[in-house]
């Protein structure tokens, strides 16, 4: 008999990454899609996560770093994205969500962009003027990038981007083409 073998996780960007091995000049692309991740939403989500020991960003569209590494992002008023260590994420997945909390399946494509060409790439593909944001406020931006709905956390040196995994390859390839153009 064949022993059961758990499926090996595959990034939704795997084929796109393989097809674009050469990084465009000025912009670096990193695939973080396989990072452990948890999502939930609902009126009771903030109180539930707080009860599990997580610090909650005070306002809508803000994020906080986790002590163990990773982050918690508040998407709008009542939805949360947690990305961090496997221990934290597994603890959240293992905790029964109470009434008023719905667990959100997160199968994102997650990209990190950095480099001197990043501001130009953002201007060409996105509607938000990221240069006008105050990074001290830890903003989370939900917008459209190259026609794909994305969640963006801008940083001083690099930007993190999440999108629906099924759109990930298209976004990755489009950003590559624009950055290379």
């Amino acid at each position: 008999m064949n022993a059961f073998t758990a499926p090996v996780p595959v990034s939704p960007l795997a084929e796109a990454v393989a097809a674009t091995r050469t990084q465009p000049v000025g912009v670096s692309f990193v695939d973080h899609s396989l990072n452990p991740r948890f999502g939930c939403k609902g009126k009771a989500a903030a109180a539930w996560l707080s009860g599990l020991g997580l610090a909650i960003p005070a306002g809508a569209n803000r994020w906080l770093p986790l002590p163990e590494g990773g982050l918690i992002a508040r998407l709008g008023n009542t939805e949360f994205l947690v990305e961090g260590s496997a221990a934290v994420v597994e603890r959240l997945h293992g905790s029964a969500a109470p009434a008023g909390v719905a667990v959100v399946l997160r199968q994102d494509a997650a990209i990190e962009l950095s480099g001197s060409g990043l501001p130009c790439l953002l201007l060409q593909t996105c509607n938000v003027n990221f240069a006008a944001l105050n990074l001290a406020e830890s903003p989370v931006v939900l917008t459209s990038m190259a026609g794909v709905g994305v969640t963006v956390i801008p940083g001083a040196g690099s930007y993190r981007i999440w999108c629906d995994g099924t759109y990930g390859a298209a976004l990755w390839e489009t950003l590559h083409e624009v950055a290379a153009g």
Partner: protein
């Protein structure tokens, strides 16, 4: 470029939004006559003027209400359902 203001995400191009129809009070399905129910389901007044409409900021799936002058194509105000305009 037309700009609309999401109550959560701020001002964005209207291409980030989807229109989902006028805000209308639903009659009680048990009490309404067939004529009243059919009017609610099928009929729209189509008259230009100031309307309250459902809109959605699609990247964040934020649903809100916009007060819009459909004659002048001007968005007057936007707010979350359940909050005061």
């Amino acid at each position: 470029m037309k700009i609309m203001t999401c109550p959560i995400n701020g001002s964005r191009p209207v291409s980030e939004f989807a229109y989902w129809g006028a805000v209308r009070d639903m009659p009680d399905p048990k009490a309404a006559s067939d004529t009243e129910w059919a009017d609610y389901v099928f009929n729209r007044d189509n008259a230009p003027g100031v309307k309250k409409e459902w809109w959605c900021h699609t990247p964040s799936n934020t649903w809100f209400i916009a007060e819009r002058d459909t004659e002048k194509d001007v968005v007057i105000n936007t707010w979350l359902y359940g909050e005061n305009p």
